[in-house]
C-alpha cells in the first residue's frame, strides 16, 4: 500500500513542477500567401507537444497552443519560421516555470526546455519577492531576437503561483 501511495505521489511531482510553454502567439513578417501560412502550420505542427496552430495571414499572427507536459522550446518555434524564409517578431507567451534569482533580478527557468529568461516588468508595482523559489505561470512578451537567437529577457505582464 505504501508503495502505491509513494508511486502515486512520485508521479504527481513532475506534473506539478513541469515547466513548459502553454501558448505562444508569434508575429511573423513576410507571409503573403496561403502556401506561406500552410508551410508555417506544417512546421509548427512538427514540433513535439504542439496541439493546435492557427495562422492569420492578414495580421501575421501565429497562435500555437501546446499540450500539457510538452518540452517544446522557443528556439524550435523561431526555427520553424526561419526555415520557411520568414522573420519572427515579438512573441506573446504564456509559460510555466520556476522563479529563481532575487527580487531585484528574478529569473524564470523553463526547466524542461533549458530556456532561461531574465524577467523585466512591463509595469511598476509588480512584486515577485514572495514567489522566488516557486513554480509560477508568467504571461509576457519576448522581444524579437536576431536569426537563430532567442531573447534572454521576458517582459512580463502577470506572474502568479502555478497551480
Amino acid at each position: 500500500m505504501k508503495k502505491i501511495i509513494a508511486a502515486a505521489l512520485f508521479s504527481l511531482i513532475p506534473l506539478a513542477a513541469h515547466a513548459e510553454y502553454e501558448q505562444v502567439n508569434l508575429t511573423v513578417f513576410g507571409m503573403d500567401c496561403a502556401p506561406c501560412a500552410h508551410a508555417i502550420h506544417v512546421s509548427m505542427k512538427g514540433i513535439q507537444g504542439v496541439n493546435t496552430v492557427d495562422v492569420d495571414l492578414n495580421t501575421g499572427l501565429v497562435t500555437i497552443k501546446l499540450t500539457p507536459g510538452n518540452n517544446a522550446s522557443m528556439r524550435q518555434f523561431n526555427e520553424a519560421v526561419e526555415k520557411n524564409g520568414f522573420t519572427h517578431k515579438d512573441a506573446d507567451i504564456v509559460v510555466k516555470g520556476r522563479l529563481t534569482g532575487t527580487a531585484n533580478a528574478p529569473v524564470l527557468e523553463v526547466s524542461g526546455t533549458q530556456d532561461r529568461y531574465a524577467l523585466s516588468p512591463t509595469a511598476s508595482g509588480l512584486d515577485v519577492a514572495s514567489l522566488i523559489g516557486k513554480a509560477v505561470t508568467v504571461t509576457g512578451v519576448l522581444p524579437q531576437a536576431s536569426k537563430g537567437k532567442v531573447s534572454d529577457t521576458l517582459r512580463y505582464k502577470t506572474i502568479t503561483e502555478a497551480r
Binding site: A34, P35, H38, V42, S43, A80, F86, T113
Partner: protein
Amino acid sequence: MKSLVVLACAFALPGIAMAADHGPVFSYATPVNSQRELSFDTGIFGRGGSLGTQLSTGSSFGYGLTPHLTINAFLPATFGSGSLPESRIMPGSEWSAGASWRFLHSVTSVGKRIESTASLGVVVPGPQQDSGVLSSLHRAPGVAGSLATGLASRSQYLWAGLGYTRFAEASEDRRPDTVSWSGVYGYRPAKLRRGYDQWDYRGFAELTGEHTGSVLKSGVTLPNSSTTTVWLGPSVLAIFKVVAISGGVQAPIFRDASDSIYGREHIRFALNFSYLKYSSHTSSH
C-alpha cells in the same frame, strides 16, 4: 573545357527562375522553396504560329536546401512543330538543372517582403529534335542565368527579371544566344485575402520579351536569323494549401523575326499544376 565549366556550374548552383508554383506562369519571379520543401510542377506550354503549333509538356522538381537556396531540374517533352525561334521563356526540348539563390530578402511588414533571386544552371539537349531551322543544328549544352527582383505582399506583386542563355558550339553549329526579360504585376482583391485554409487566388499581367541572336550553321552566321519579340497577357494563379494551378495566355505586341526562316508566332499559352510538399522536420532542443 567548356563541358567542364558547364558541369561545374551545374553542381555549384540552378536554372529555372520561373516560379509557376508561387507566382506568374511566364515571367521571372523571386520565390524559392522553403528548407526541405519538395516541389513538383507539371504543365503544358503552347506556341501557336503560321506553320503549326508546338506544345511542350514537362516536369520540374525543386528542393529547398536552405530557406534561400533551391535546386531544381526540368525535364520537358515536345509535341508538334512550328518552326519557331529559340525561346527561353517558353520551354523547348532542352533539359535543364540548376539552383536559385535568394540573395536579398528584406521583410518590411506583415505580409510584405522585397527580395531578389539569382539563378544559374545548365541546359542540355534532350532526346527530341527541334523543328525548323533549329532542327538541323548540331546541339551542345548551354549555360542559363537569370536575375529577378521584386515585391510580394498580401495585395500586390511586382517583379522584374532578366535572363541570358548561351549555348556551346558543336561541329561549327551553335544555337542562338538568348536574352529574356519580364515584368509582371499581380493583384489579389480584398475579398480574396482570406485564410490559408481556403483557395488563394491572384491575377497577373505579364509582359515578356526575348531577343535571340543569330544561328550559326557550319561556321556561317545565318542571315536574318536573329529575332526580337515582346509578349503581353494575363494569367491566374490558384493555390489551396499544397496544390497550385496557374494558367495564362499571351499575344505578341512586337515582333521582329524573318517570316522566311521562322513561322509567324501569334499566341502563347500555359497551364501549370504544382504540388508542394512541406517539411515538418524540426530540430530538438
